[in-house]
């Protein structure tokens, strides 16, 4: 399976501890080498003034042209993302492609006393989830699998950061990790 690179492409700085935690969890989930890298800049032309949000598809396009020649690339951002049809998305990925993006913008909602720890847990789950799509996985209906659809933060909290056995098996099927644009 392809190795993974993680880039922080947000506006405000991200705590190095958080990036390290995400790196470790991704390595455990996919069993591949994961490295935190420095992006060549920040995505441009992704902001939609009418929506006041960033178009996730353009984020993916920017990541794709800036990505290293090999492996999967996950961009993490603090910008609120959307696709034209929906009010917001937590992230987006090329299904079976090379790049994925996940946003922290809505992961601060409804934080209880667990606060920061819960926020990082959510980010880990979203990172594993979006990269799952990049490895060709679709949404899973097995309860608590990290690949279940999360339409709100409550859904994110309910699932585990792990792939269910079926998704894990699917990762090993030939043709899952292919380069394709949706």
């Amino acid at each position: 399976m392809d190795p993974i690179s993680i880039w922080w492409i947000g506006e405000r700085p991200m705590a190095p501890g958080v990036m390290e935690r995400v790196r470790g969890e991704l390595a455990a989930a996919y069993g591949v080498a994961v490295a935190c890298g420095e992006p060549p800049g920040r995505p441009a032309d992704t902001f939609d003034p009418k929506r006041g949000q960033h178009l996730s598809g353009r984020m993916l396009a920017w990541l794709l042209q800036a990505a290293p020649p090999e492996g999967k690339l996950l961009g993490l951002t603090d910008q609120d993302l959307f696709i034209p049809i929906l009010t917001y998305v937590f992230g987006e990925a090329q299904l079976g492609g090379r790049v994925a993006v996940a946003s922290t913008a809505r992961l601060h909602e409804d934080l209880d006393r667990a606060g920061e720890r819960r926020f990082v847990d959510r980010l880990v789950k979203e990172a594993v989830h979006e990269l799952g799509h990049a490895y060709g996985l679709v949404h899973c209906q097995v309860p608590r699998c990290v690949m279940t659809r999360a339409a709100g933060v409550r859904d994110v909290d309910e699932k585990s950061p792990e792939l269910c056995p079926r998704c894990r098996h699917r990762l090993t099927e030939p043709g899952r990790s292919r380069h394709a644009v949706e």
Binding site: R51, G57, F82, I83, P84, I85, L86, T87, Y88, V89, E92, L95, H133, V138, H139, Q141, R149, A151, G152, E182
Partner: protein
Amino acid sequence: MPSNERVRILVVDDEEIVRESLAGWLAKDGYAVEQADRGAAALARLAAQRFSILISDLKMPEMDGLALQAEARKLQPDLAVVIMTAFATVDTAVTAMKQGAFDYLVKPFDPEELSMMMQKIVAQQELVRENAVLRKALKKEHQLHDLTSKAPAMQAVFELARTAARSSSTILILGESGAGKEVLARAIHAESPRAAGPFVEVSCAALTETLLESELFGHEKGSFTGATARRKGKFEAAHQGTLFLDEVGDIGPKLQLDLLRVLEERRFHRIGGNETVEVDVRIVAATNKDLQRAVASGSFREDLFYRLNVIPIRLPPLRDRREDVPLLVEVFLERLSAELGRPIEGISAEAMNALAVHPWPGNVRELRNVLERGAVVARGPIIELLDLGLEGPSPSGAAPRGEPPTSPDASLDEVERRHIAAVLAHTGFNVSQSARVLGVDRVTLYNKMRKYGMKRDGEDEPSHPTPGR
């Protein structure tokens, strides 16, 4: 939990970015998603393959979402339609829902809302499918081939028919016209070891005695004027199969004797021939006559009666098994829907009540005919009471409104006048509805009303309708 992979969704929007992002979102849920950029392209896809869900934008050039919905449902009536609109207007939502849309979405929509709506549609369609399977299984329990009944008397008939079918004994089916004697005969044949052989039917009442004799036994060339070639009869045609002698109570004395001989010896001569023809035929006879009374009065041979009456099966009239009416309605509407090529979803409660109390002198055949008429004239997918054109007592038991029936010596104009008056009275003088029932357009009906000087109490003569009013 059902797999989403089997759920095929068609996304229709003229904006590529909207289409792509929605299709991408749904694909990640595992749905099989296809896209179309306009109504015509969507209809082409719907004509080519089945979809579970159609998600269409409301405002599109050429054909809008509502027009697409109407056309799409003609192609796939069980399609769940979701209309997307950029502006939340109550009117649009109401129109879409009235025309059968499952729901509508205001763009941009909340991911939670979209996700839950798709799950709801899939769950509902799964339920409908399960329900259909269960109903099919239940119906099968109540069926003997094309006969359907849950009435205990008919269940006994089915059991006897199944048992009798296994033997080669002669069966005599007794029952009123339209009760399903021929359908039962065919079912017996289909259940029998002779099912792969021919099922040959002869209507004994339809032919003269001479013609019937030739029809049954065949003839040799030159055996009578017009016999230009040898012709095999129905007995030979039914070799190794079943010969159904309908209205056997109507055959004359000579044929009764000939038939008796064949039943006893299983061989005969063609008319004008010397060759003995042996046949292996199972006889199923039927009559609506009281054969025992005919034997008593001497018009039917007693020995033939006993030859035919080996296994008698009596089909009860529909009025004695009224509990079957709703079941039969369902079966017939399903068949009529397929035959007429238009979706008929059911009949109104008022219409069903009327069918439940109708005396059904013509039995199941009459019920089918009434429903066929209803299916043809119904404007929508539901057959209403007036569509059935039922005559006789109203469901409440009150006498029908309108004028009394005409006498046999009435002129055609008089019959027409009275019939129009009766229909107008029945519809409460609703001209559009009456025209529909009578099978004419409103202008024709207005002309006839003027011709016969018909008007509602306190009204002048009817005027022609003005277009646009």
